[in-house]
Amino acid sequence: MKWITSLLLIALLSLAAELYLPFWSVALISFGVVAAIPQTSWKAFLCGFAALFLLWSCLAFYMDAQNNQILSSRVSLLFLKIKSPILLVLVTGFLGGIVGGMGALSASFLRSPETQG
């Protein structure tokens, strides 16, 4: 429950933050949420990762659909050497996930092992 709440919180706050702040603000959000609602390190990482993976994938998917996949077709060819907009969407989500996951992981290390759990 705590995990799901954290995930939703990270995703929603990140969505709001990105309207005004640079992309790396999502790392701070993940960090803040996990600092406030403590979790063990691997759970924290997965939480941050999943939140941003979902958020960025959905956003990218939505923007890509709006663009009729014109840009993603060319860019996926350029970077992935394969014409696959959906793969580019997933890669985008993955990168977001890494940023979010690392933010969350860092926060989980703030607490000493004895006090965890």
Binding site: N67, N68, I70, L71, R74, V75, L77, L78
Partner: protein, 777 residues
């Protein structure tokens, strides 16, 4: 969308239609140029800025020293710097800023570009900036001048002086004339044979003195091989234009057509728009990076251009007193050199400083210290008309305003370099063409080779007076045209016409226009996209006469038959054009390869028309024999051998399905960075070098335009690209398919009352911002 700017003096309304063409309405002309700058930047910022980096010799700054295996620093940046592109742009800017009209125009344009740049954030930068990792710098009037110089270089920066000098060193005088004649028999000049040259007087304004001993010392000088690694614009840059008078059209009004052939790139070279102010209402294409409409029409007339192809760039050998290059010999004196230090920034490395010596002839482009692969140790200064101050922008500004023939004539006086065949038609019924530019008055063969620069003997003796430039106004035949052919009969013109003048498109256009009556816009579309190949018509008899068919395999025979039964049209699905062209190139190599191969240095390759005329006249043409073999070959043996050589590759192409003409020539529209994923490859289009539809693999009709000067004006056009420079936009390349099919879009000249027309998709209002802040006194 509403935008406020302090720089404006009034309101500008911009309506973008469903083709993303902006229609700009302004009360003040400079406000319109502000909006034009803003719109160019909005849709094409990366492209226009990148091209100024290219022109200024600054590619290493953003791309690093190497791009793939290309040494950008030495092959591109230093080449442009040493040619004096930056210097030339500064000279042009002086002329532009000395004129209040063009100064105001450029200032407003620059402010508009910068107004857009200031709205950009890191995330909203165009894609290419992100890929390369840099950001735009402020636009300046100098950047506009650089861009115009890049166009000048592309159109008037070509000459073969070093390759010709090598050829002169290799061949006897008689052979040289056979290989590189200065004119052809079959040529239909822009001014038909027999047309009076320039009415008033037949005494040329510049009386040329041919240097004493030019025949023995210049024409026949034998020397060592010369540097040849040059950065050259494409030789295929060319174009078609013609205007027919009302006597030949169905509507009774003139029709003007133009299709400039240039490099096929994305984002496209052109940006289409309408600019409407109380002073003028012009529609056509503009250069992203420069104010005004370049090719198009207004409410009274239409105008267009083809390249004049004249050689306006020559090299002079400079003698410096010593290695410091501080003084050079000129007319028995030692003159002081001026130095210009080129500071070339290189990404990830220290700056490269190149000190270029400037002489009375121009910048010393080649010298021992500049990457001359053959290291001849000689100094060559480059003299180029583009290095003199000139204000081409004024020509376009005045054309946009032109109401009649005399306005047009006044406007084109401002066009120095690149020289252009300026075509004109007006609603009042006039048609005209002027071969306009600052052309040096040269004596026979002057500037075909590098020249001695120790005195003024070989220098240009003047510029041909403007009124002696070839021109034709309202001719009886009812049309004027040009397709880069020679402007007048060579022997009648008092000055030497040096340059590269391909004859065939011009002959075909004139032959067709001659026959046409009751012409409609649809007829003109057909003509402009015609794939008929006049060169093949003239050359195929050689194919049929000299290839020996006796021992052909059945498959081989079938390829031969394709050409025999060919309708001489370079249509996309035909197999014959690929077979015929391969054979012709093979034949040419077989005939000239042995002679030209005598030197390890590249030499000038004779033109197709030279070989064709020689063989039609005389099958025992001197160069047919392969001088590397003991026996003497005849044309039949060589032509058959040329066929046998290409047969395997033809067969292979056919097996892989690549023999049909569109696949064989494989037209591609390439992104300026040569990134495949941002390019449009494999365009299914016919045509070719000698078709009116001159669509080659990487060059072609860059803007096909047809203007009927009826009231109201009816105009049709298309270009191989799209209005947006953003590869993620549906408007990036949406015109390409239409262009490839030979179709046209109907142009919409919007009137002020049509702001609710359903074609309008977006609106932008530019207003002068009301300053509310208190001004401290």
């Amino acid at each position: 969308m509403n935008l406020d700017f302090q720089e404006l003096s009034g309101t500008v309304k911009v309506y973008l239609d469903n083709r993303l063409v902006p229609h700009v309405f302004a009360q003040k002309e400079n406000d319109a140029y502000f909006a034009q700058g803003y719109l160019h930047a909005k849709f094409r910022l990366w492209q226009m800025e990148f091209q100024t980096y290219y022109a200024a010799g600054r590619l290493s700054e953003i791309l690093g020293r190497y791009s793939g295996s290309t040494d950008l620093l030495n092959k591109v940046d230093r080449s442009f710097r040493r040619l004096g592109m930056g210097y030339a742009a500064e000279q042009a800017l002086k002329a532009v800023e000395a004129n209040p009209v063009t100064k105001g125009q450029c200032d407003a344009y620059t402010e508009g570009v910068n107004a857009y740049i200031s709205t950009l954030t890191k995330s909203s930068l165009p894609l290419e900036y992100k890929l390369l990792g840099y950001a735009p710098e402020p636009w300046t009037n100098l950047k506009t001048a650089l861009l115009l110089k890049l166009m000048t270089w592309d159109l008037a920066g070509s000459e073969n002086d070093f390759a010709m000098t090598n050829a002169r060193n290799l061949f006897s005088a008689a052979d040289f004339e056979l290989l590189y004649p200065t004119t052809q028999d079959s040529v239909d000049p822009i001014l038909p044979k027999g047309t009076p040259l320039y009415g008033t007087s037949d005494t040329p304004g510049v009386k040329l003195r041919v240097p004493l001993h030019a025949d023995s010392t210049y024409m026949m000088a034998k020397g060592s091989a010369l540097p040849l690694e040059e950065l050259k614009p494409d030789r295929d840059n060319g174009s078609n234009n013609w205007a027919v008078s009302g006597s030949k059209t169905k509507s009774g009004s003139p029709i003007l057509c133009n299709d400039p052939h240039l490099g096929l790139n994305l984002p496209s070279l052109w940006f289409e728009m309408q600019i409407s102010t109380p002073g003028f209402n012009a529609y056509g294409v503009s250069f992203p990076g420069a104010p005004g409409i370049i090719i198009g029409f207004n409410d009274s007339c239409a105008f267009g251009f083809t390249n004049a192809m004249r050689d306006v760039r020559d090299y002079y050998e400079i003698q410096f007193k010593d290695q410091t290059r501080k003084e050079y010999r000129y007319n028995n004196e030692w003159l002081p050199t001026k130095f210009r230090v080129e500071d070339i920034k290189v990404k990830g490395q220290d700056d490269f400083l190149d000190t270029v010596a400037y002489t009375i002839f121009g910048p010393v482009m080649y010298e021992p210290g500049y990457a001359d692969p053959l290291n001849t140790g000689k100094y060559y200064a480059c003299k180029w008309t583009a290095q003199s101050p000139s204000n081409e922008l004024l020509a376009f500004n005045e054309l946009d305003h032109a109401a009649n023939y005399s306005d047009y004539l006044a406007a084109i006086q401002n066009l120095s370099t690149p020289g252009q065949n300026c075509i004109f038609a007006s609603k009042s019924g006039d048609i005209a063409i002027w071969d306009q530019g600052a052309f040096p008055a040269k004596w026979f063969r002057q500037g075909d080779f590098v020249m001695p620069g120790i005195d003024s003997t070989y220098d240009w003796q003047g510029i041909i007076p403007q009124k002696e430039n070839p021109h034709m106004v309202d001719p009886v035949r009812g049309f004027v045209s040009s397709a880069n052919q020679v402007p007048v009969e060579v022997k009648r013109y008092p000055y030497y016409l040096s340059g590269n003048f391909p004859p065939y498109r011009g002959m075909e256009i004139n032959r067709r226009l001659e026959q046409m009556e009751n012409i409609t816009a649809a007829d003109m579309m057909q003509l402009q996209t015609d794939n008929y190949d006049l060169f093949a018509e003239m050359a195929r008899p050689l194919f049929l006469k000299y290839i020996d068919t006796t021992n052909m395999e059945p498959a081989e025979k079938s390829y031969y038959t394709y050409v025999r039964d060919w309708d001489l049209r370079n249509d996309p699905g035909e197999k014959a054009p690929g077979i015929f062209n391969s054979w012709w190139h093979s034949l040419k190599t077989s005939i000239y390869g042995d002679e030209l191969g005598q030197t390890k240095y590249p030499v000038m390759e004779p033109y197709d028309e030279t070989l064709l005329e020689a063989l039609l006249k005389d099958s025992s043409y001197k160069f047919v024999d392969d001088i590397r073999t003991p026996q003497v070959e005849n044309l039949k043996q060589i032509a058959t051998l040329a066929w046998k050589k290409i047969y395997p590759s033809i067969q292979q192409a056919d097996t892989f399905g690549n023999l049909t003409w569109a696949s064989f020539k494989d037209t591609k529209i390439t992104h300026l960075l040569h990134i495949n994923e941002l390019s449009d490859p494999h365009i299914p289009i016919g045509g070719g070098t000698y078709s009116i539809n001159a669509a080659k693999s990487d060059h072609g009709p860059s803007w096909r335009m047809i203007v009927e000067l009826t009231t109201p004006t009816k105009a049709y056009a298309i270009y191989p690209g799209g209005q947006s420079g953003n590869p993620g936009s549906p408007y990036y390349d949406n015109f390409v398919d239409v262009w490839a099919k030979g179709h046209y879009d109907t142009l919409w000249v919007m009137s002020p009352g049509e702001q609710n027309d359903p074609r309008i998709q977006w609106k932008i209002n530019f207003t002068k911002s009301q300053t509310t802040a208190n001004h401290p006194e």
